[in-house]
C-alpha cells in the first residue's frame, strides 16, 4: 500500500486579468502612493519634531506678531509660514501640532478599535442574549451626543491630553462593533469554523484564532480611514476649546487662534486647516485603495 507522493507545492497565485496599459496602472497606484507618502511624512514629522522645528512652539515675541509667510509680500525666510498673534512661528507650531494630532489619533484608534473589535466578535459569534446586550449598548453609544459628553468631561476633568483621548474613546468604539459583528457572522458559518468546532476548540479559541485573523482586512481599511477622522475630531474639540490646552499647539486650536485674524493674518488658520484637510483626504483615499486591493477574490495579505 503505497500512497503516491505528491510533488511539491506549487505556489498558486491567481493571475489578475489586466490588459490595461502601463500608464493607467501607474495612475491607479498613485492613488495609493500619494496618500501613503502624506502619512509617512506625517509620522516622520511627528517623531522628528524637536529637530525639524526651527523654533520652540511656545516662544512668543511681541515684536514679530502676525508676520506673513515668506512667499507673501512682507514676509521673510526667518518665519517661513509667518507668525501668529503672539509672535510664535507658525511652521514650528504646525510641526509640533502634527505630533499632538497623530498621538491623540493613534491612541484613540488603538483603544476604540480594540474594544470595538472584541465586542463585535463576541456579539457576532456568541449570538443570543450576549449579542442583543452588546448591540443595545452599541446603539446607545452611537446615538449618544458625543460632543456634549466631550464638553462635560473637559469641564469636570480639566482639558488635557488624556481628557481628549478619553472623550473620543468612550463612545468611539461603537463604530467598529457593528461592522466587525457583521463580518463575524459571515465567517462564523464557514466550513473551517465548523471544523474547529469538530476538533473541540473552545469558543474563545475560535474567536481568537479563526475569526479575528479573517476580519483583519476590513478592519485595516476602517482604521486607515479613521486616522483622518480622529484628527478632525480632535481638531474640532481643540477649536472649541475643550481639547489640548495652550501653549501646546494642535491643528484645531491653531485654527481657532487665527479665527479673529482671518482678514489680515489668514495664514494663522489657513496652514493648519489645509493640513487637516490633506490628512483626512489621504486617509480616505488610502482606505479606498486598500478596500479595492483587498477584494476577497484576490489573495489576502
Amino acid at each position: 500500500m503505497q500512497t503516491t507522493m505528491v510533488p511539491n507545492v506549487e505556489a498558486k497565485s491567481k493571475p489578475r486579468y489586466t490588459g490595461i496599459s502601463r500608464r493607467r496602472r501607474i495612475l491607479k497606484n498613485l492613488a495609493m502612493i500619494i496618500p501613503a507618502a502624506v502619512f509617512i511624512l506625517l509620522i516622520l514629522t511627528a517623531i522628528l519634531a524637536p529637530w525639524l522645528a526651527p523654533y520652540p512652539y511656545d516662544k512668543t515675541s511681541m515684536t514679530e506678531r502676525r508676520l506673513p509667510p515668506a512667499f507673501v509680500e512682507g514676509g521673510s525666510m526667518k518665519h517661513f509660514l509667518g507668525t501668529d498673534n503672539l509672535g510664535r512661528d507658525v511652521l514650528s507650531r504646525v510641526i509640533y501640532g502634527a505630533r499632538v494630532s497623530l498621538s491623540v489619533s493613534l491612541m484613540v484608534i488603538a483603544i476604540t478599535s480594540g474594544i470595538g473589535t472584541a465586542l463585535g466578535i463576541t456579539a457576532g459569534y456568541l449570538g443570543g442574549r450576549t449579542d442583543a446586550f452588546i448591540m443595545r449598548i452599541t446603539d446607545i453609544a452611537l446615538s449618544f451626543p458625543g460632543l456634549l459628553l466631550a464638553m462635560l468631561l473637559a469641564v469636570s476633568l480639566g482639558p488635557g491630553f488624556f481628557t481628549v483621548v478619553l472623550a473620543l474613546s468612550i463612545l468611539g468604539w461603537s463604530g467598529y462593533t457593528r461592522l466587525i459583528r457583521g463580518e463575524t457572522l459571515r465567517i462564523r458559518n464557514s466550513d473551517f469554523v465548523a471544523q474547529a468546532r469538530i476538533a473541540g476548540a473552545s469558543p474563545f479559541r475560535i474567536m481568537l484564532r479563526h475569526i479575528f485573523p479573517n476580519i483583519l482586512n476590513p478592519l485595516i481599511v476602517v482604521v486607515t480611514m479613521a486616522v483622518g477622522f480622529m484628527i478632525l475630531a480632535e481638531s474640532g474639540m481643540s477649536y472649541l476649546g475643550i481639547g489640548i490646552p495652550p501653549p501646546m499647539p494642535s491643528w484645531g486650536s491653531m485654527v481657532a487662534d487665527g479665527r479673529n485674524d482671518l482678514d489680515r493674518a489668514w495664514w494663522i488658520s489657513m496652514f493648519p486647516g489645509i493640513l487637516i484637510g490633506l490628512v483626512v483626504m489621504s486617509g480616505n483615499f488610502l482606505g479606498d485603495w486598500l478596500r479595492d486591493k483587498m477584494d476577497p477574490r484576490l489573495r489576502q495579505l
Binding site: T4, P7, P15, R16, Y17, T18, G19
Partner: protein, 322 residues
C-alpha cells in the same frame, strides 16, 4: 447528413495578465452539425468554458482576447463582425446556458419579463405577439402551467425549474446553435436525467445544434453524438461518443475513462493519473500531457503531436498513433 452549422478553425484565446499570457485555448478545431450534440469534455482549467465564451465573443474584458482562428457560423466568420452585428447574433443565432441558474436569472424581475426581453430584442414582434411567444418557449421546456410562471420570481422556483426557465430564455428566439456550459452539474441526478431527456426532445423538434460542455461522462454518454476531449488548451481527441468510451486512442482520454468508477461493477482499484495539469503560463514544449503520460516517448517531450485523422470522424493528437 445534416449541414454543418458551426466550424471552428484553429481558435486561439489568451488572457493577458500581469504575470504573462495565459493561453487558455491554443489552437482548436471542430465542427457541429444541425441537430447534433457535440460534447466538449475536460477538467477544470482545460479551456472548455473559454471555448464556449469565445464562440459567443463574450470574454471578460480587459484581458481576454481571441488572438487567432476562425469561427464560422452558417458560412459567416464571426471574427469579422463588429460589436453591433455580433449582438444581433447573440441570442438569435447562438444562445448559451450556464451552470448556475440563480446567477443567470435576474432575481428582481419576473420570469415572464426576462424571457420577453430576449424575444423583444431579437424578434421584433408586435407587442401582442410577445406573450404567446414567451409561453411557447416555456412549453418547449415542458414547464407546467406556464401562464402562472410568468408572474413568478426566480427565488420561488426550484433548481430544476429555474434551469428550465434559463433554457426557455435560451431557446426563445429559436437559435441555430446552443452552447450549454455544465448546465446539469448543479442538478440532482434524477432531475438531471429529466433535463437531458428534455433537451434530446427539443433537439429533435427544433434541429438545433448543441455544444455541451461538461466533465461528467454519464451525461456525455447520454446526450452527445460526438465528443472532443480537451487538455491544457488543446483538443487531444475527437470521436463519436461510442468510440471515445469503447476505443479511446489518446492516453489522456483512456486514463480519464478508467479513473471514473463504474456503476456496473465493483472496481478493485481505480486508475489515477499522477501529477497535475500544467500551468497555462509555462507550458512544456512538446506534448502537454507528456509529463503525466505512461506511454511518453522522446519525441513527445520535444514536439507537439500533429492531429491525425484515423477515420472520417475520429482524430487524435498523439505521437503513438500512426
Amino acid at each position: 447528413m445534416n449541414e454543418i452549422i458551426l466550424q471552428v478553425e484553429d481558435l486561439r484565446t489568451s488572457f493577458f495578465t500581469r504575470m504573462g499570457e495565459v493561453k487558455a485555448v491554443d489552437g482548436i478545431s471542430f465542427y457541429v452539425r444541425a441537430g447534433e450534440t457535440f460534447g466538449i469534455v475536460g477538467e477544470s482549467g482545460c479551456g472548455k468554458s473559454v471555448t464556449g465564451l469565445s464562440i459567443l465573443r463574450l470574454l471578460p474584458e480587459p484581458g481576454g482576447r481571441i488572438i487567432g482562428g476562425k469561427i464560422i457560423l452558417e458560412g459567416r466568420n464571426l471574427m469579422e463582425l463588429n460589436k453591433k452585428q455580433m449582438r444581433a447574433y447573440r441570442g438569435k443565432m447562438i444562445s448559451m446556458i450556464l451552470q448556475d441558474p440563480m446567477s443567470s436569472l435576474n432575481p428582481v424581475y419576473q420570469i415572464g419579463d426576462q424571457i420577453a426581453e430576449s424575444v423583444r430584442l431579437h424578434q421584433g414582434l408586435p407587442e401582442n405577439m410577445v406573450e404567446p411567444e414567451v409561453i411557447s418557449a416555456l412549453r418547449l421546456l415542458r414547464i407546467p402551467s406556464p401562464e402562472m410562471i410568468l408572474k413568478e420570481y426566480p427565488f420561488q422556483l426550484s433548481g430544476g425549474m429555474r434551469q428550465r426557465v434559463v433554457g426557455s430564455v435560451a431557446m426563445s428566439c429559436h437559435p441555430r446553435l446552443l452552447i450549454a456550459d455544465e448546465p446539469t452539474t448543479a442538478l440532482d441526478a434524477t432531475i438531471q436525467a429529466q433535463y437531458i431527456a428534455l433537451f434530446e426532445d427539443i433537439q429533435q423538434k427544433t434541429n438545433v445544434a448543441i455544444i455541451f460542455i461538461t466533465h461528467d461522462f454519464g451525461v456525455v454518454s447520454r446526450i452527445c453524438d460526438r465528443v472532443g476531449v480537451m487538455y491544457a488548451g488543446k483538443i487531444v481527441e475527437t470521436a463519436p461518443t461510442r468510440e471515445i468510451f469503447k476505443a479511446p486512442r489518446h492516453p489522456y482520454t483512456s486514463a480519464l475513462i478508467h479513473s471514473v468508477p463504474s456503476l456496473d461493477k465493483k472496481d478493485d482499484r481505480l486508475f489515477s493519473i499522477e501529477g497535475q495539469p500544467p500551468s497555462m503560463m509555462n507550458l512544456p514544449p512538446g506534448c502537454r500531457f507528456c509529463p503525466r503520460c505512461t506511454f511518453s516517448m522522446d519525441v513527445c517531450k520535444e514536439q507537439e503531436p500533429p492531429e491525425i485523422k484515423l477515420t472520417e470522424d475520429h482524430s487524435v493528437s498523439c505521437w503513438r498513433v500512426k
